[in-house]
């Protein structure tokens, strides 16, 4: 895949380049401050952009704004946003457009190389990758919501769905059969009153929209 990186910290930038190239990807552009991100992306037309939230000049949420601007310029452009810390409200903003192909992860997750590359592929393919910490925050947000009526297993399935995983991965993570996962998902959708949808990011978006408004 052709990747553009937006990251101001040289140490992390080099690390990311190394990691991506060793995984067989091609880093076609690097931006080290907020204003440079969008022009680089428009010029290089990558398959995916990996952006840090905090970048010069303001060291605030330049990367997040750049992600939204880039997606406005190139609709559907896959963007993976990385951050030192996660905020559920940022996830809401990123997912607001509803087009999928969005990832929002803690930088810590880069350490789990396999999982990180998997998330990258998922986002590039139009899916979603949401940090478990964001999902936890979304799940614990509301008192007395229907989420409380789920069994622990169903909650696990819901969380993994919200993170953007497909049935196969969920089954592998929870060490159950895919049939069992499908059954749990059916129950979750029933209990939350969501219309049943087939797999894919449409389902993730429905779940996230539900959690956001709950």
């Amino acid at each position: 895949m052709r990747v553009v990186i937006g990251e101001d910290n040289a140490l992390l930038r080099e690390g990311l380049v190394l990691l991506l190239t060793s995984a067989g990807h091609q880093v076609v552009g690097v931006a080290d401050d907020g204003p440079a991100v969008v022009p680089t992306i428009i010029e290089r037309r990558p398959d995916i952009a990996v952006l840090d939230v905090r970048m010069p000049p303001g060291f605030r949420d330049e990367g997040l704004r750049a992600a939204l601007a880039a997606r406005a310029a190139i609709p559907g452009l896959p963007v993976l946003v990385l951050s030192q810390y996660v905020e559920a409200s940022y996830a809401t903003e990123l997912l607001g457009a509803g087009a999928g192909a969005i990832g929002y992860l803690l930088k810590d997750r880069i350490g789990r190389v396999e999982e990180f590359l998997d998330a990258l592929d998922r986002v590039a393919a139009g899916g979603t990758a949401l940090d478990p910490e964001v999902v936890t925050e979304l799940l614990t947000r509301r008192r007395d919501s229907p989420v409380d009526s789920l069994t622990p297993r169903e909650r696990e399935v819901l969380a993994l769905m919200a993170e953007g995983h497909d049935n196969t991965t969920i089954a592998a993570t929870l060490v159950v059969t895919e049939r069992a996962v499908s059954k749990h998902i059916g129950n979750v959708f029933l209990k939350l009153g969501l219309p049943a949808t087939d797999g894919g990011h449409r389902r993730v978006l429905a779940v996230l929209a539900y959690l956001n408004n709950a």
Binding site: R60, D61, A88, L106, D108, G111, T140, R142, R143
Partner: protein, 391 residues
């Protein structure tokens, strides 16, 4: 002759004894006098602050009355008379307000009787003005004198009772000294907490991580399976260290405050609070921002208040209002819950119930701000926080 000498001798002895006794009496009287003076002085010393307090209340009543007559508020500025006796004494004696009150009281001796003129003015006024104004239709001139009298009295009293700039400054300095000490100790405790978190948490984890890496290196060739397990452990340790670091950073200064400003950060906070929270702010997008310490204090206060509301009040809804006043930042948090929030000193019941409110109060006080909590049983609970700052 002999008789005379003997008598004189006896008399001399008597006189000598008497002189001794007299001398003793002198001593006794002196001691007694000293004792009496000392007793009076000690009691007097203990009474002085109380007397000054009484005088303040007296002057305060006059301020209220004179202020009401003049249609203004006459401010007062006193050093606080609290704490140990020595401090109260020092404040009572050093307070310029004490002397201002004394001056006013002495002045009352001199012009205070003038107000009695009002009584004889009434019959005279009724008679003279009755003829002059009632019959002849001219402007009354005696009865208005009573009003003039009141004006004079109020004006003089106001002038005497209004604190001098020096008194106002003295009060301000005293208040700042106290809040500065509070701020320093709060800052101190905060630094210690951060140091402890970093040392006991993050650093310990990094040491454990480094140890595992060292062990993995040793096992690398001979026992690859063990090396792999150690590396897994090391990665877990690294992730936990990162999570802890994030937690510490959030406690120092929530990153979203930097990114989004106070209103934005509060909106994110509200979304995760478990309540439906309405946030209103009078700030425009390009309004100047409050200093970081003020924003952080406001953020933590709202966070604590919303947590309390979600946990104890049973309310479904809360309101947070941000207002930029001339004096600084005002934050009002209101919930329609069951009320009855109490401030309990944290020493008796640490980290339970009221100690949250107390912690909020400390945080606010450290920035020279004020916090008022009204929470009648049955609700609503309203927390009004004002944090002074320059825009």
């Amino acid at each position: 002759m002999r008789e005379a000498v003997r008598r004189a001798g006896r008399a001399t002895v008597y006189l000598a004894a008497s002189a001794g006794l007299t001398f003793g009496s002198y001593l006794f009287i002196t001691v007694l006098l000293c004792t009496v003076i000392a007793t009076v002085a000690v009691v007097g010393v203990a009474m002085l602050p109380e007397t000054v307090l009484l005088m303040r209340r007296w002057a305060g009543a006059k301020r209220t009355w004179a202020g009401a007559w003049r249609g203004e508020r006459i401010p007062e500025a006193y050093l606080p008379l609290t704490g140990p006796l020595r401090r109260r004494l020092r404040h009572a004696v050093h307070d310029p307000g004490t002397y201002a009150d004394l001056r006013w009281m002495v002045a009352q001796y001199l012009y205070g009787w003038l107000v009695c003129l009002a009584l004889p003015l009434w019959p005279v006024g009724l008679a003279v003005d009755g003829v002059w104004s009632g019959l002849l239709g001219r402007q009354p001139f005696v009865l208005p004198l009573i009003g003039r009298l009141a004006d004079r009295d109020a004006a003089w009293s106001a002038r005497l009772l209004r604190p001098t700039p020096k008194a106002l400054l003295t009060e301000r300095v005293e208040k700042l000294t106290v809040t500065r000490a509070d701020a320093l100790s709060a800052h101190d405790a905060e630094l210690r907490r951060i140091e402890r978190d970093l040392h006991d948490g993050t650093q310990a984890r990094l040491v454990a991580l480094s140890m595992r890496l060292g062990l993995a290196r040793r096992a690398y060739d001979a026992d690859p399976a063990t090396a792999r397990r150690l590396l897994d452990d090391a990665q877990d340790q690294a992730e936990e260290a990162l999570a802890e670091l994030r937690h510490v950073v959030r406690g120092i200064h929530p990153p979203i405050l930097t990114d989004r400003g106070l209103a934005g950060a509060l909106r994110a906070l509200a979304a995760g609070s478990g309540l439906s929270v309405g946030i209103t702010t009078d700030a425009t997008d390009n309004a100047p921002r409050a200093p970081a310490a003020v924003e952080a204090a406001a953020y933590f206060v709202v966070a604590e208040a919303l947590t309390n509301a979600a946990k104890h009040s049973g309310a479904e809804h809360a309101e947070v209002r941000l207002a930029h006043t001339r004096a600084g930042l005002q934050v009002i948090i209101r919930d329609e819950g069951c009320g009855g929030a109490e401030e309990r000193p944290s020493t008796s019941v640490p980290l339970v119930g009221g100690s949250g409110l107390l912690g909020m109060r400390r945080r606010v006080a450290a920035l020279d701000g004020t916090m008022t909590v009204t929470s009648p049983v049955g609700g609503p609970t309203v927390i009004d926080v004002e944090l002074p700052c320059v825009w």
